[in-house]
């Protein structure tokens, strides 16, 4: 048995049956990280000693009989979650020296339930990107390879690229991620794993470095739908320190994975077809719908007429919020400081040196759309279109229980591709952004491979706070797809 090939819930059951120890499981993952991280660059920081200590504590808890629901399971934490005493960079130079004196609620919930933190996962700077190419700590290599072009180094997607790559390559059983416009779902699709963005408000944002506060939401990535369900149950829950976190019970998501889809009505939004989208993505979408019909669901054509305006709306709202949130990086209280003559010069030089090109672009766009004279034309207008996007979903959910769409308009692309024009990169999120704007839950599940042997994901979108139906539908697709392909680069197979 190769411990790194177990799914998170298989490993959990093995630990409970005392077939192996958390220390053994953790050492296997640390060895995999040591072997492959120099190439993949999925971790910015590896916390090996801390992981061993947590693993030993989990083994002691098993011996005492009071182990938590995730006891002893080694996972990666996206470097956007503040971790007490462990450097947290958000993928940015401006937070290079930052060591939080507190723990984010979500990572704290996972530690409370016994999870073992292997380290901090690489990501696009401040979660702004769809390729992990904007990280100040270097690009992440997608562990999958094109059949016809094995030399090409592919991107893992973004912004949670390190989280997705580490899980796909079996360096971690699961990982935390965050999603503002697709940053959980698109990398999950590119790396052949599952990932869910829950309903806005399901997970506390406290201690997560803020990007766009009305959109940011934490969620898990893992190799199976059930693994995501186990992780989300621990991550979710009300937190008095985040006023937008919702005080409602967290259901047993794993139970929902076994529900089946009999009698469910699945909507097929006709607007989810992008120009130049490969035919095999459309074919996989039709296949996914057929799988759900075979499992007893009914599929119904629906319209989400404002889908095409989702991205443009997003690229007003998200930069506006980021320009406000990132105002705190001023070189005074934490992070990088660039020496200067006076205070204004200090701010300007610190931010010029500390922020990368994509972050600067978004801060500048956000500053402009919020500036006097332009606020109504851009920001207010975008908020009104956002209301129409939400209305589209509300109307559709009168008729259907969930929606099925492709996750992304392409498979993973190579490093350097889509880099010449920011808008080309933005188009990656065309199918994920609308659910973000509406705050509804969305999950990507691997459906199959394209002709190049690269994974393609399908997206299940559900009603607000009905993650259970999302898990039920995603699990049904997972069962029907029988996706058992593994990436070329993975623990025990360094090729």
């Amino acid at each position: 048995m190769t411990l790194t090939d177990l799914t998170l819930t298989e490993a959990r059951d093995g630990l409970r049956q005392r077939r192996f120890s958390s220390r053994e499981l953790t050492e296997a993952h640390l060895a995999a990280i040591e072997a492959l991280n120099p190439r993949l660059n999925a971790f910015i920081t590896v916390t090996a000693e801390r992981a061993r200590t947590q693993a030993d504590a989990a083994d002691a808890a098993f011996a005492r009989g009071d182990a938590g629901p995730l006891a002893g399971l080694p996972i990666a934490i996206k470097d956007l979650f503040c971790t007490k005493g462990v450097r947290t960079t958000a993928g940015s130079d401006i937070l290079g020296p930052f060591v939080p004196p507190y723990e984010s609620t979500v990572s704290g919930n996972l530690l409370r339930d016994g999870a073992v933190m292997l380290g901090k996962a690489n990501m696009d700077e401040f979660a702004m990107g769809s390729s992990n190419m904007t990280s100040a700590y270097g690009a992440v290599e997608n562990p999958w390879k094109r059949r016809q072009d094995r030399e090409a180094v592919l991107v893992p997607g973004g912004s949670s690229g390190g989280s997705a790559a580490s899980v796909a390559a079996r360096l971690a059983l699961g990982a935390t991620a965050t999603d503002t416009g697709g940053s959980i779902r698109q990398p999950a699709s590119f790396c052949g794993i599952a990932g869910i963005k829950p309903t806005y408000g399901r997970c506390s944002r406290w201690g997560i470095v803020a990007f766009a506060s009305s959109l940011d939401q934490a969620g898990p990535v893992a190799r199976t739908v059930r693994d995501c369900a186990a992780l989300l149950r621990s991550m979710a829950g009300h937190d008095a320190r985040d006023s937008t976190s919702v005080d409602c019970p967290v259901p047993d998501y794993e139970a929902a994975c076994s529900r089946g889809v009999k009698g469910l009505r699945i909507g097929v939004p006709r607007e989810y077809r992008a120009d130049g989208m490969p035919g095999e993505i459309d074919t996989l979408w039709q296949q996914g719908l057929a799988w759900l019909r075979d499992a007893g669901a009914e599929t119904i054509d629906v319209s989400l007429p404002h889908t095409k305006y989702g991205l443009a709306t997003y690229y007003i709202v998200a930069p506006a919020e980021c320009s406000s949130n990132l105002a705190r990086y001023d070189g005074v209280r934490f992070g990088l400081r660039e020496g200067a003559e006076d205070l204004t010069d200090l701010y300007e030089r610190t931010r010029a040196r500390g922020f990368g090109a994509e972050v600067k672009r978004r801060v500048l766009i956000g500053t402009y759309v919020l500036s006097a004279g332009y606020y109504d034309a851009y920001y207010l207008k975008a908020q009104k279109v956002r209301a129409l996007i939400l209305r589209d979903f509300t109307d559709a959910f009168q008729r259907v229980d969930a929606l099925l769409t492709p996750t992304a308009p392409s498979a993973a692309f190579a490093q350097g591709e889509n880099m010449d024009d920011p808008i080309k990169m933005y188009l990656n999120d065309v199918f994920t952004v609308p659910a973000s704007m509406a705050g509804v839950p969305g999950m990507s599940v691997p459906g199959g491979l394209d002709a190049n042997g690269l994974p393609l994901g399908l997206q299940v979108i559900g009603r607000p706070f009905d993650e259970e139906t999302v898990f039920a539908v995603a699990a049904a697709i997972e069962r029907a797809a029988g996706f058992s392909h593994r990436p070329a680069i993975r623990a025990g197979n360094g090729a």
Binding site: G201, T244, Y309, V332, L364
Partner: protein, 95 residues
Amino acid sequence: MSLDPATVRRIARLARIRVEESELGRLQGELNGILGWIEQLNEVDVTGVEPLTGVAQVALKMRPDAVTDGGMADEVLANAPQRAGGFFAVPKVVE
């Protein structure tokens, strides 16, 4: 609407990001590209639509207005690039 170099300079100043003269042209092109693409929203009729500020679907909770935390100046200052005693230190602001 198209941004001229002076407007790019003004926005950068508002955002407190130093932009060198040599970067202005490239930034102007990129920002105008993005803003031009955003213009597609002009074709959406939003008459009578209330703006949506967020999707949190519950009323904000009330809590007692009480001090619940504090007394951790050292932790707060631990990440300061420069400190002077119990204070953040910055270049001289007032002569």
